[in-house]
Amino acid sequence: MKKNLRYPIYYISVGLCCLVLCLTAGLLAGFQYVVPTFIKQLLPFTALRPLHTLFALSWIFMGSIGSILWYIQNDTRYRYQSFSIIKLQFWLFLLTGLAITVCYVLRKFEGKEYLEFPHLFYFPILLGWLLLAIYYFRAMWTSFASWPAYYWMWGTGMVFMIFHFTEAHMWILSYFKQDYIQNLTMQWKAGGAYVGAWNMLVYGCSMYVMEKTSGSGAYSRSKTAFFFYFLSLVNAMFNWAHHVYPVPNAEWIRYAAYLISMTEWIILIRMIYLWKTNLPTAVKKKYRIAYKVMMLSDLWIFLNLVLALLISIPAINLFTHGTHITVAHSMGTTIGINTLILLSSVAYLQESLKMYSAKDRHLILVLLKVFNISFLGFWLVLIVMGIEKSKWLYFTQNVLFSDFQDSMKYFHIGFACFGIGLLAGLGGIAFRMLKHNWDILKDSTENE
């Protein structure tokens, strides 16, 4: 293996570690719903929640960057580009991530939700994305005229990540600071579009894996693929306002989002549907784990499609906003869709380099079942909790929040139990994949 090909494996390994840490922090936070004083002095919920989201985002970023770099490095046209910029980017992200983790543990916060770290960290993170974009466009620009849709998706994702990450910090400027409603609207505009940007990276990986395992490059260059690329780009740009439907801002912002949101979720289900129907049995056997995991994401795309469409209707959103139904939607997309696509991408990469042993393959498929059953329970409990909260918000009077929380005790227990199943299933898969990465790196060192 070329030395350049090792760095993508490092990215993915760090990403898999972040996935395990994300699940652990989420589980500990879940326990605090059941036992409010649980490790309250050591790691209160105010620290556990940002740690959970930091590790979730780090998994998605490191997993997708590692996959993309491996895919383009593996293409002989781009293999011999200088890789020092990527090494710098890797260490910049790793060290910044570690520093932010320390800040959260020590409860040093400055930023808004999901970006709670001190403002200073804006600069290394921005620099990291800039370095990645420079490397990507420098390596790929010469072949622009023949780019398949997934190269467009990765390039757009990187540029939008830089833009929206900056936009998410604009509230610091005194011009925006005074107007709380504009400030809140812009925070969620940036946050929503930020998700759209990383979806471009992740969905690009899914299209790549589909194409390579099917052995046909026709789809990613077809007009249909580009139609869906532009449709998802329109959604990334203009479909974020369902996050702030109850916030009293200008109506036209919400009108635009309502119209565009109805188109969103047909995108990926069509891609996977086309792939599933065309894939020959021999390919399914060769990339068995990649195929199984990708097909599982199909189920979650369907479930989240229904949920996303419903909560994008303002009349329904009025009752679901601010409840656990929103959490079900975000968990459904980050775990059910993004994580499964990335795990499928990692499995494809690993199965291309070194086949899993029959024992490992069997174990991963069992763990996948554990994950799926637990996640279905977890997702359904969140929806029921959301319905109960909505009933409390809109249809009850004089019931204190603390009394309402007490009445939800058994749901919280169920939620935490399914969380244990999630950690066992996904954590187990992550450990097997980390071990496989280790074996691949070891083999490559021995062969040199």
């Binding site: 719903y33 209160p44 620290a47 409860r107 709380y180 200008a250 309502y258 959490v327």
Partner: protein, 136 residues
């Protein structure tokens, strides 16, 4: 074909730039409330202690604690100040000074002036649209 795709991309970017300019400017309606200096200090304290991890404003934030958009409409400043340092249930024990408590309460007072959450007086239309009930 890529030239056409490039053209579509440029058109979309132009629309996006126009759209953003409107949202960033004060031409768009965001209400008339502007946070006072004291409320801005309060917001800073809100962020530095990551209150958003458990509490919500306009239903945005964590779900371990209650939404505080209109808390000042139902609870007096004195009660809110007691809650701030109570360390009740999973809430960390904060040690805010009197001045900091005043700043946080002022922030919550001014957030309350911006609107309602939950918006119980909102009107639901047959089209699925919702007309929000705004504060005058």
């Amino acid at each position: 074909m890529h030239k056409i795709y490039g053209g579509i991309l440029l058109v979309l970017i132009a629309c996006f730039a126009l759209y953003n300019t409107h949202i960033y400017s004060d031409k768009t309606l965001f209400g008339k409330v502007r946070l006072s200096e004291q409320a801005q200090h309060g917001e800073q304290l809100w962020l530095r202690n990551n209150c958003n991890a458990c509490h919500q404003l306009y239903g945005l934030g964590g779900y371990l604690g209650p939404d505080l958009t209109n808390v000042v409409a139902t609870k007096s400043p004195e009660i809110i100040k007691i809650f701030l340092v109570s360390g009740v249930r999973s809430m960390p024990v904060f040690s805010f000074s009197e001045q900091e408590k005043d700043q946080l309460v002022q922030f919550l007072k001014e957030v309350n002036e911006t609107g309602y959450y939950p918006n119980k007086e909102a009107t639901i239309k047959n089209t699925g649209w919702v007309d929000l009930h705004y504060k005058k």
